[in-house]
Symmetry: C2
């Protein structure tokens, strides 16, 4: 079953308004949930919407609050998100980083007391749509052990890089774990092993059995010791820049809320040679695509390439939905 | 055999002066080579020094040139390194990024036409010594295939994050490949297999045989598709910010020279709560260390922890040297 973009947006908007969101905030959240499904990231689109609405009842999201500026030093600002909806805060923060970049060449907003931003790529696309290179990351609940350890101490902190390009931005959105827990659940439901080790079993052995990793809750970071290090530095930088919570503090809470994030934008529009840059980016991507392939692959894709294709297809044909979840939303 | 810091520094300085370096530039290069060995990164310290001197004869490094400012927009600047020595350029660029950060909260220098910076962590420590969070990366020769491809298209572009901390900064310095070629050569010389897959053989099969990877020159990126994406975005961002060469252009040259790099600093010294931050960082690191261990590990280490220990030991006992290489330097 497919639902057209406008209809999905209107349904999300309706439910958010019914749940007390202001018109402006409902529109931002409805747009992001719809865009996530439109881009093929259903897990952070329609499929997350009912649980997002349910989570409002926990009281960890304050739908009425606005981010408040805490400190400003030229091109760097600290904001307190005051526990507002994560998507609203992140959109606001990246927008502010872009404004600072347009004034100063580069801009950075460090945010504390925010909530789950759903899909990181959203804010990468946002920066690129404004003609900026975007770099942002978020902290998250402990889910990854230090290299050599077998307790979850490090956040599966996603990091996002984006480069604007006519015809489709390049946007990399990666969490620190090799596989997301959602992806591992899918493998488990299909009775399949992961194509490579994705975490540890409860004994501390590396395994590609998704069920064992879902039991231990110990995901393997990309690059083993390297990803573990990356998770730690993202946590520390988020804490020192924002003044907000670190990952171990999040781990002491019952739910993931009040998280720290950093948004950086680099303005390209005033750099000389800007107009030729799209051509140079295309040359890099042409060279990237022009590779002999491994068996089993029919092409290689740059980060964001699949998104651009999926977006076009879903705008033309409608957005695929799991019918039961769509009906759940209609009934909200 | 061990050599004390001051003696090693003076020998490097002598050889550099003899090879036409100015007093100021000789001191910077001699210091960095000595510090790299002092910190235990011998591959980028003493062990690289003779080949660095040899490379001066190729004419791809112009030891007399100075970086020149090309564009300035507030907190963001573009500099042309004019093919000067990479260590001098990188030290200059991070210093300038820190100056911009002290004025604007955040500062960024994009550098084109530079040369090999030796060890990335050097510039992370430098930013942290100035009270800044540092973030920098460099491009490098193609050495990694896109995910699904079997031709080296992507640079093994190292990325560095640093967080200042009393008692020893946290500094992560990671290349994109799971193992460096130097490390793989060491395994090969010892007739050992890598502890996990580190690249492809010439047929395109993943392997942990270092000899086969050294033959194919196809290293495996951290996190498979994730690291490949990371290598690509670092290349693109370096190119669009600096206006300099991309990785595929480097690959068409006979040697790695004229590379693009980005240096970003985030000033912490004016942020409120700065004085308590070291305490909070220590709490995070205490929690990190307080983990049950996997078999075969006696502790977990944060990025930079080993460096701090090694630095202390080598300053006390002298810096270990391979005697033949040390004698080579004495004879230069």
């Amino acid at each position: 079953m497919r639902v057209i973009y406008e209809q999905m947006f209107q349904e999300f908007n309706r439910v958010l308004l019914k749940n007390g969101f202001s018109m402006e905030k409902a529109q931002v959240c409805a747009r992001i949930f719809t865009e996530n499904s439109r881009d093929g990231v259903y897990s952070h689109g329609l499929n997350s919407f009912p649980s997002f609405i349910l989570s409002l009842q926990k009281g960890t999201i304050d739908i009425s609050s606005q981010p408040v500026k805490v400190e400003a030093f030229g091109a760097m600002e600290r904001w307190d998100a005051k526990y507002g909806p994560g998507m609203i805060n992140a959109t606001f923060a990246m927008n502010r980083a872009v404004e600072l970049a347009k004034e100063n060449g580069i801009g950075c907003v460090a945010l504390k007391n925010s909530n789950h931003w759903m899909r990181g790529a959203t804010y990468g696309w946002q920066a690129a749509d404004s003609g900026c290179v975007g770099l942002c990351w978020t902290t998250a609940l402990p889910a990854i052990p230090p290299w050599g350890g077998k307790e979850a101490k490090l956040g599966n902190n996603p990091i996002v890089f984006s480069i604007p390009r006519e015809g489709g931005h390049v946007v990399l959105d990666i969490a620190i774990s090799q596989f997301s827990y959602g992806k591992m659940r899918t493998y488990q439901l299909n009775n399949e092993m992961l194509p490579m080790n994705g975490g540890y079993d409860t004994e501390g052995n590396l395994t590609n059995d998704p069920g064992k990793i879902l039991e231990s809750r110990l995901a393997l970071p990309i690059g083993y010791w390297k990803g573990a290090g990356l998770a730690l530095v993202i946590d520390l930088i988020s804490m020192v820049l924002s003044g907000g919570r670190c990952v171990s503090e999040l781990g002491k809470q019952e739910t993931e809320h009040g998280i720290s994030q950093v948004f950086t934008a680099f303005d390209l529009s005033r750099l000389p040679g800007h107009s030729e840059m799209s051509e140079r980016i295309n040359q890099v991507l042409d060279d990237f695509h022009d590779t002999e392939l491994l068996d089993g692959f029919d092409r290689v894709r740059y980060p964001g390439e699949g998104t651009s294709h999926m977006r076009k297809e879903n705008m033309e044909k409608g957005i695929p939905v799991v019918e039961s979840i769509w009906n759940q939303v209609l009934a909200l």
